[in-house]
């Protein structure tokens, strides 16, 4: 069983983590676990929220160095609100993702953070974008990230279907997070889920004891 050293070279506090986002019929679900750790040996926070709101209908999830991620999202929030005022319209999800991508790409030597951006806008409806470590930006219907994501690639490939209902998608996201938290020692705590639709935004927290349990637990 080979080890995956995805986040262990991060200096300082790292969100060794599991994050995901998935499009369903009419909206998008974005979610994460809630553990922040130092090198996989000490849990520095059990209840950190990794789902950050960057605008009314646009959220992003962070993975990697917590300090870098917070600095980048703060800068992105500022850019995005300024942009929104200039355009006199809510920003597009791709605009938010591009702002993050520019920051990650221009500063790729210093930064160690990856993002999943998800949201809803009038032009293209629900969308999910992923900005990886070096600053690549791609759009996908479903995406997972963080150290815990390796364990759920198979599950997500098998279980995700386009055009699920809201309930199906919530169940899918909760299950995926629970499975990843069950196998990755640097992911855990509660599951934070945010459901974004045209109508609005709903934040759901699933505490540890209410997470789905699988046969061996």
């Amino acid at each position: 069983m080979e080890k995956h050293y995805t986040d262990s070279q991060v200096k300082g506090v790292s969100t060794g983590t599991t994050i995901l986002a998935a499009i369903f019929d009419g909206g998008v679900v974005i979610g994460s676990d809630s553990r922040a750790s130092i090198g996989g040996e000490y849990v520095s926070s059990k209840t950190i929220n990794k789902v950050i709101q960057v605008h009314d209908r646009i959220f992003c999830c962070i993975a990697g160095s917590l300090a870098d991620a917070q600095a980048v999202t703060k800068a992105a929030k500022f850019h995005l609100s300024f942009h929104s005022v200039q355009m006199e319209n809510p920003p597009l999800v791709i605009a938010a993702a591009t702002v993050l991508k520019e920051l990650c790409y221009k500063n790729k030597e210093e930064l160690q953070a990856g993002f999943i951006t998800a949201g809803w806008d009038k032009k293209k409806g629900p969308q999910v974008y992923v900005v990886s470590l070096g600053g690549m930006l791609i759009s996908q219907p479903v995406t997972i990230g963080g150290s815990g994501s390796t364990y759920i690639y198979g599950y997500v490939d098998a279980k995700y279907k386009p055009n699920m209902t809201r309930e199906e998608c919530m169940q899918f996201a909760t299950n995926a997070l629970a499975l990843a938290m069950g196998r990755d020692n640097v992911s855990g705590g509660v599951a934070h889920l945010v459901v974004i639709t045209e109508a609005g935004v709903e934040h759901v927290v699933v505490p540890g004891n209410k997470l789905p349990r699988f046969h061996d637990e």
């Binding site: 069983m1 390796t150 386009p162 499975l179 196998r183």
Partner: protein
Amino acid sequence: MAAATSMMPVFGHQISPKNDLVPDWTRQEVSTGTTIMAVEYDGGVVIGADSRTTTGAYIANRVTDKLTPIHDRIFCCRSGSAADTQAIADVVTYQLGFHSIELDEPPLVETAANLFKASCYRYREELMAGILVAGWDRRKAGQVYCVPIGGMLVRQPVAVGGSGSSYIYGFMDSNYKPGMSKEQCLELTSAALTLAMERDGSSGGVVRLASISEDGVERRVILGNQLTKFSTH
């Protein structure tokens, strides 16, 4: 004398690491970066593996058989260094065969697993081998034992191994239920291996399956174009 020395070929310079004439993969160790899986059911076990052996980025064998018989009703699934696992399997096959003749009855799966563990643990510094031992015996029916790198031994109802195994832990945790039938185990194994092969660059090729029970060993192969297609994005 000058003529004689100049006739000696200068091998050292030709095979330096920077030399483009010698491809990278000739200097890499042969590895079964792989995905292997074994599941117990009532009456036997189902085992499965992909079929890719790599030396660096080159696929040395795309139809490898990683399911190696150790005895009539005992198999092992090999992952890690191809040379190490082949050598260990040969040693254990010999030891187990001898032991079985002495005992005058078929050997126990637990015995085979312990023999693997003994070799893997004693030579843990030199070896890179992750092995699943699975089979059927009269005492405990179907059993799966996991001997990962380092030489631990543990019995599990379902076990996965190899580089591709990380990607299917979630799928396995959610889809395995105790008390599945042989057909369900075969479905689960082939689906899990397919998913892992899609994501892991060191796993691929065909899916090899085998089911072991009191009645014997049934082997089958699922070719690449016959594998289930999961919704890709």
